[in-house]
């Protein structure tokens, strides 16, 4: 903040984006246990290959180590976390409490999500909370930061949490025409940066980006295009048929199937990912990429290097 009066937080990711450099973020999934060394190893593997790293919050509604606790371990390991926070498991009291705690532990980025429905996880019988939706969460974080007020309107007399506020958007969900409007709502609520759903259908993403640029939304927020390397034809099919809101075109499935026959699935997956990065990088309004190598963090360094996004800039 002291270095740059125009930043809203002390986030490294924010400084990279505001400096106009193409940003790289990637995902780091906390373990299903209490072993901090798992995170330390992943952090070591990812260090230097991105500007900040998403720490997922019980992704796919499966119990994992807290994203805030894991985020602190990541800070200790010398990299910057983006704390994911879902509305699924907490009401507004718990969320604000966690936001204060995360800030006190040194978190500078928070990604606001509604969250996957609990039905998909390991506790489908759990009571989902959904007191707020993601847009209301974004607004709550912004009001805490900029107006120093809790959601109830009471003044925050102590130190306010200064987060760089992130949100997600899925250009591939329906109704398509509403997707850019939804992005506009997230920006109006206070989203400083956006990470999109994984892109396999580049043409549909291009159409969405055109609407976004025509609305001038790319000038109000930083849009990071979501990408992910496929590991196998099975994963491609699973993504197409079982992951809500995913759009995997048939030609991608065909390529992964052909590669599987010569036992080169992983290679082809990385190749497709690099092609997507190359294409989205040239699109107006795309400020960076977000790499979601779910449980395949090893792939990130290769992708970042081969995409000529390495070394990452230092500021």
């Amino acid at each position: 903040m002291e270095n740059n009066p125009h930043t809203k937080s002390d986030s490294h990711l924010e400084r990279i984006l505001r400096s106009g450099q193409f940003a790289v973020t990637a995902e780091l999934g906390p373990p299903r246990g209490a072993d901090r060394s798992v995170i330390e190893k992943k952090a070591e593997m990812l260090k230097g290959y991105g500007d900040a790293f998403n720490i997922t919050d019980c992704q796919t509604s499966v119990v994992r180590m807290s994203s805030i606790a894991a985020g602190r371990i990541v800070i200790d390991a010398g990299i910057e976390p983006i704390i994911q926070m879902t509305c699924r498991d907490r009401n507004r009291i718990a969320m604000q409490s966690d936001l204060l705690g995360a800030a006190a532990l040194g978190a500078k980025n928070v990604l606001c999500l509604t969250g996957d429905h609990q039905k998909f996880g390991d506790h489908p019988m759990a009571k989902g909370v959904f007191d707020l939706d993601s847009i209301q969460l974004i607004q709550m974080v912004k009001v805490l930061r900029d107006d120093k007020k809790f959601q109830c309107g009471q003044e925050l007399k102590d130190c306010e949490p200064r987060f760089f506020i992130g949100a997600a958007e899925n250009p591939f969900a329906d109704p398509f025409q509403f997707r850019a409007i939804r992005l506009a709502k997230k920006i109006a609520a206070g989203a400083d940066f956006i990470q999109t759903q994984i892109i396999y259908n580049v043409e549909k993403f291009r159409k969405w980006m055109k609407i976004v640029v025509d609305m001038g939304l790319h000038e109000k927020t930083f849009i990071l295009a979501g990408v992910a390397p496929l590991k196998s034809k099975g994963m491609a099919r699973h993504m197409k048929h079982n992951v809500p809101g995913m759009d995997v075109p048939e030609k991608i499935i065909d390529r992964m199937t052909a590669a599987a026959e010569v036992k080169k699935g992983k290679e082809e997956g990385i190749k497709i990912c690099l092609e997507v990065i190359e294409q989205v990088r040239g699109m107006k309004g795309v400020a960076g990429v977000h790499i979601m190598a779910v449980e395949w963090e090893e792939a990130v360094s290769e992708i970042v290097q081969r995409a000529r996004l390495y070394p990452r800039p230092t500021l």
Binding site: T114, S134, Q136, A173, F178, K185, P244
Partner: protein, 224 residues
Amino acid sequence: MIVAGSKPFQEIEEMLSGFRKVCVMGCGSCVTICHTGGEKQVTELAAQLRLSAKLKGKQREVKEASILRQCEWEFIKDTGEDVQDCDAILSIACGIGVQYLAERYPKIRVFPGVNTTFMGGPTKQGVFWERCAGCGDCLIGTTGGLCPVSRCAKSLLNGPCGGSQNGKCEVSQETPCIWHKIYDQLDTQQLLATMEDIVPPKDWSAGAENHPRKMVLDHLVMKK
């Protein structure tokens, strides 16, 4: 209406094991319409209970009764003859009826024969869908008359989540995405611009999260 589904017979048998004189009590309102708690179901369930006792060689007398509304004191206060000498009542009314009977007959064990599930209605013969969450602060005037609180899996208020595809909810392919329907409805009514407004966090204090709720109609309350 209130929709209730029959409990599995085995669960009912377990609840009633050890009771020799049981009255199955039906209700002529919502549960009659959803075919789980009316007079016909009383007859069927009573016959099933008698038969099962006979097959197991157990002594069990099963009486049958049904009243128009188990959820109103005026209707249940005169049920005495049917149930007074029973040692258990199996109510197949909604949870309100079961509780009214439990209060009316404090010395008799009262058991629920149905699972009270939601407020909804039939969309076709034999198929019932939730339509209202009783949130106490109805907003469907702004959402094309369709309720996102009860019909969206995440009760979202600002439009569909990122999982809606082909008009279906991410949670189940057979569930319509209510926000897609709201979008289409508002489009038809040329009110799409309203979906650009940010809906603030909802006041849930009048809703089911804050038990127990009460409504008072002052003009009807008898003054002493």
